[in-house]
């Protein structure tokens, strides 16, 4: 219930969090500066003591990071201006409605569409004229083809000439212009008191449900834009219907059309070489194509275009004015993107899309973390992190291979005469080995995070268990160094992903393959770091202990190992980090569970919230590990850096 309430009111929750973050940012800076002043005189530059403490700077850093996240994900906008998105959606509707008009004017581009069409098609006509196939047409046909091309060119120029614009077209353009002026006036009218419809009020607020932004206007300003946009849509449709076809142009078009039809008939007559027929057909098709681009009368003289352009510009300027405070909010709080109205919905495009708001990420995380898998919790039927009863028999079956039972003397049971199954002792043992006997159960962690953690931990365990002794022996023994060095150095530089296909074939799809992949990563790092640690031991220490009568074993245990420990610990820290990095690749091989699996699936559907949840989970698990390791290091090798 509490969670639901929080989810419904995430804008308010975010507002409170942002204010808290801002104040903790300020307070931590003030406190930090004070502390620095206090200690300034006691400490020398370079003294490691200078880095001790300073939690307030951590708070400062984290607050800055979160504030930036809130800002660029438009989380701050949603927190403080929850209606802005809805109003911008109405503005988006208006922009969508007039987009056919603006696309043909020089409003978002340098030139108007008429200019582009005119220049482009004239150029193509010139090129077409230049490559008129000489031998494909008879002399008098050639004249006709050239006439068609010239007519088309004439048509283009006629359309671009203001003297040839028909009265009907002028009237229609005047009408569009005056209608734009009308909606400009409409935008100017002061806002009246207006109450949203019941249906609009029932819409879920911004970012709560799947259509991100409520479509129906919920404020008076939004209602005005909505009204204007529906009017603009009908103007756009009218505009699209305008054809610049004066009676003279129409005559020219029908004349040219007939000529093209005739020439086409000519090209299909197969009286000559089929190759020539084809050349002729291709050429006529190209001519026809350009003619067809022109004959719908979509080229207008510049003066006509400037008129409409002026009225649309005025309208857009008025829109900015009418937006008032909204445009300031848009500039300041919606960095790097826009709210776009598409066919069915308004969506955030820009960082708002690929950088989900912190509160939404937390909400997605909580849905995932809900252990109630039956009711929408977890991911793909598995919880995020929970516990379950692990039957002991499962562990037994893992440890006792089935094949062992086959080696026992005697036969398996068969069906007896009564048609019942007569089990032998061997069948019972098999049941035991297969884990089909109830032996009690243990509570055990479960879920995606645990599965990933388990893989990393087991890999690390074996990596340390095998890598550290080998590394140390490589540091002290000529045989070990020379024997293992080529092997390890040969496989170490190979990226783990390169092993992936092999591992799938060798180990199959179970956990062991993934663990082995991670183990290979951890092992190499552990060997290198242990070896560096062992070979870096000061010779004087070894000599001293030797002359004091220490045995080889004692030198190893009491001199070399402690000296190698700092390096080994650093090795563990590094390899845990790299293991997390490799996990996503490992779980891509055969994904059933795990954080990397979630990420892989989320990527295929561009679910950014889910992707960020997995990134944060992996980041925080890595952080927790590192903090633990630092604690262990402080306990185990307190002398580090003080020698």
């Amino acid at each position: 219930m509490v969670l639901e309430w929080l989810s419904e009111n995430r804008a308010i929750v975010a507002a409170i969090i942002i204010l808290l973050l801002a104040s903790s940012f300020l307070v931590s800076i003030i406190y930090g500066v004070q502390q620095t002043r206090l200690r300034e005189k006691d400490q020398v530059f370079g003294d490691p003591e200078r880095t001790v403490g300073g939690w307030f700077w951590s708070i400062c850093g984290v607050s800055v990071l979160l504030l930036i996240w809130f800002y660029f994900s438009w989380g701050a906008a949603r927190a403080f201006f929850p209606q802005a998105a809805n109003e911008l959606c109405q503005v988006g509707k208006l922009h969508e409605a007039i987009s056919p008009v603006t696309a043909s004017l020089a409003i978002q581009s340098r030139y108007s569409k008429s200019k582009t069409l005119l220049v482009r098609n004239s150029k193509q006509l010139r090129e077409l004229k230049a490559r008129l196939p000489v031998d494909a047409f008879l002399e008098n046909d050639k004249v006709r083809v050239l006439k068609v091309i010239n007519n088309t060119q004439k048509l283009i120029n006629m359309m671009a000439n203001p003297d040839f614009v028909g009265q009907k077209t002028i009237r229609e353009i005047e009408k569009v212009k005056s209608r734009f002026a009308a909606i400009t006036n409409e935008l100017k009218t002061p806002l009246q008191s207006w109450s949203p419809s019941q249906k609009a009020l029932q819409q879920p607020s911004w970012g709560i449900s799947e259509p991100e932004i409520p479509m129906l206007p919920i404020s008076a300003k939004g209602a005005l834009f909505d009204l204007v946009s529906s009017e603009a849509k009908s103007i756009s449709n009218d505009f699209l219907g305008i054809r610049n076809l004066s009676p003279i142009a129409k005559d020219l078009i029908s004349e040219t059309k007939a000529m093209i039809a005739n020439l086409k008939k000519l090209s299909s007559a197969s009286d000559r070489d089929p190759r020539i027929v084809k050349t002729r057909a291709d050429y006529m098709k190209a001519v026809d194509r350009i003619f067809k681009r022109i004959d719908d009368g979509k080229i207008f003289p510049a003066s006509v275009m400037t008129d409409i352009q002026g009225s649309v510009r005025t309208m857009l300027q008025q829109l900015e004015k009418s937006k008032g405070a909204l445009s300031i909010v848009e500039i300041l709080f919606f960095p790097g993107g826009d709210i776009i109205k598409s066919r069915t919905q308004c969506t955030e495009q820009g960082p708002g899309r690929w950088l989900p708001k912190p509160t939404d990420v937390v909400a997605t995380f909580l849905t995932l973390a809900n252990p109630d898998v039956e009711n929408g919790g977890g991911y793909k039927g598995t919880t995020l992190l929970w516990w379950k009863w692990l039957p002991i028999s499962d562990v037994v079956s893992l440890l006792v291979p089935d094949g062992l039972v086959d080696l026992l003397p005697g036969d398996y049971g068969t069906l007896n005469k009564q048609g019942n199954f007569q089990p032998n002792y061997k069948d019972w043992v098999l049941l035991f080995a297969q884990g089909d006997v109830y032996l009690g159960a243990l509570p055990m962690l479960d879920g995606h995070i645990w599965d990933s953690l388990f893989r990393v931990l087991v890999a690390m365990f074996f990596g340390v268990l095998l890598g550290v002794p080998l590394g140390i022996y490589m540091g002290v023994s000529r045989f070990c160094k020379s024997f293992f060095d080529p092997l390890i150095e040969l496989y170490r530089p190979v990226p783990p992903l390169a092993w992936a296909p092999l591992i799938l074939t060798i180990f199959g799809i179970q956990d062991d393959g993934k663990i082995f992949l991670l183990f290979m990563v951890a092992f190499a790092i552990m060997v290198i770091s242990a070896r560096t640690g062992a070979s870096g031991t000061q010779l004087s220490k070894i000599r001293a202990s030797h002359s004091l009568g220490a045995s080889d074993r004692q030198i190893l245990r009491y001199v070399i190992l402690p000296n190698a420990l700092p390096e080994i610990m650093t090795g563990i820290r590094i390899s845990i980090g790299v293991c997390w990095g490799t996990l996503v690749a490992a779980e891509m091989l055969a994904g059933t569970t795990g954080v990397g699996f979630i990420e892989n699936v989320a990527r295929t559907v561009s679910d950014y919230e889910l992707i960020w949840v997995t990134i944060l989970i992996m980041g925080s698990l890595g952080l927790i590990f590192d903090l633990m390791m630092r604690w262990v290091i402080a306990r185990l090798i307190p002398w580090r850096g003080k020698g």
């Binding site: 696309a103 598409s342 055969a590």
Partner: protein, 326 residues
């Protein structure tokens, strides 16, 4: 003034966040996304620059490896038209609110196969034995969709199965190794490998009878469709012209094969399974009332929809339109 400030803000955001700021579209070029190793007749038009000639603009072709990447590029403003985007990535994108729409069917092909390991002795007649088995499926792809459809047709409860998310190549390997019992595969090479050790759970005839098929779509950004409907119409017209002129002659195959980056025999085999419907057929069968496009998209949408997501059937039909096919 406002534009200017906004530009400054956007520029700094792009610099800070390293995000792909939408590049302004040059008016005289159209950017089209396509797949390599996916042979279609319109590649002849592509190579011969028939698109450029007919549309009167430069047509730039960029190859992609997945449909999801095509969507991302369209949202970033780098691509206007995605030719032969899979239906699955198109639907998941629209479910995430991407402003794109489907304007045509690019190619119809047989639904991807799910191969059952031969030594299990399971076929469609005793398919219920699949319950409790392990299946390799590339999640959220057309193969996934086909898998769910097969299981529905064969009346098998997928929740009893262990579903492993594997790329087709990996799935084929796992099937051969016996670590999975069934693998759902797309792509020629992987399907060939899986076919060595397994048999499709449903034959081509059974698939047709059950009405399970796949098609790729031509999708465009809403911006491009509203601003340049003429160019879009011509693009589709040239595509259909290329399809109509397709005779699978040796010279045509060679041209397509070299553009698709495959050898001629693979191209021939691949194209043998393809159907390229004409504009009239599409309008009648796919985009009419009760058309295949909407019903397939909706059932796909239901398979992939997030729990608690919006009413797919109401929205999906609105982003599928045959109006540019004339």
């Amino acid at each position: 003034m406002k534009r200017f400030t906004k530009n400054i803000v956007s520029a700094s955001v792009a610099a800070v966040m390293m995000g792909g700021a939408a590049a302004a579209q040059a008016a005289d070029s159209v950017n089209v996304a396509f797949f390599l190793e996916w042979a279609t007749p319109n590649q002849i038009a592509k190579v011969d620059k028939a698109y450029d000639d007919a549309m009167g603009v430069n047509v730039n072709w960029t190859n992609f490896s997945t449909g999801v990447q095509m969507t991302e590029a369209m949202l970033a403003g780098d691509i206007d038209i995605a030719y032969s985007q899979g239906l699955a990535p198109f639907i998941t994108a629209t479910q995430q609110g991407a402003p794109i729409k489907m304007v045509s069917v690019a190619v119809i092909y047989e639904a991807n196969d799910c191969f059952v390991k031969n030594d299990l002795g399971i076929s469609s007649s005793n398919a219920s034995e699949l319950e409790g088995k392990t299946v390799a499926v590339p999640l959220n792809t057309m193969a996934d969709f086909a898998f769910r459809k097969y299981m529905q047709a064969l009346n098998i409860n997928t929740s009893t199965m262990k579903i492993v998310d594997q790329a087709p190549a990996d799935g084929a390997v796992s099937l051969a190794d016996g670590s999975v019992d069934m693998a759902c595969i797309f792509g020629g090479d992987s399907a060939k490998k899986a076919g060595e050790v397994g048999t499709p759970i449903m034959s081509s005839q059974q698939k047709r009878d059950a009405g399970i098929g796949s098609f790729d779509v031509v999708s465009v950004t809403e911006k491009f469709a509203t601003e340049n409907p003429g160019l879009l119409r011509t693009f589709l017209e040239v595509t259909h012209e290329a399809n109509a002129n397709w005779t699978a002659s040796a010279s045509q195959l060679k041209k397509v094969a070299s553009d698709a980056g495959m050898d001629v025999s693979t191209t021939k085999n691949q194209m043998a399974g393809f159907i390229f419907p004409t504009a009239a057929e599409q309008k009648e069968q796919f985009f009419g009332p009760k058309g295949v496009a909407v019903s397939a998209a909706e059932s796909l949408g239901l398979v992939f929809k997030k729990p608690g997501a919006w009413n797919v059937d109401q929205k999906i039909s609105k982003v599928i339109t045959g109006e540019y096919l004339d």
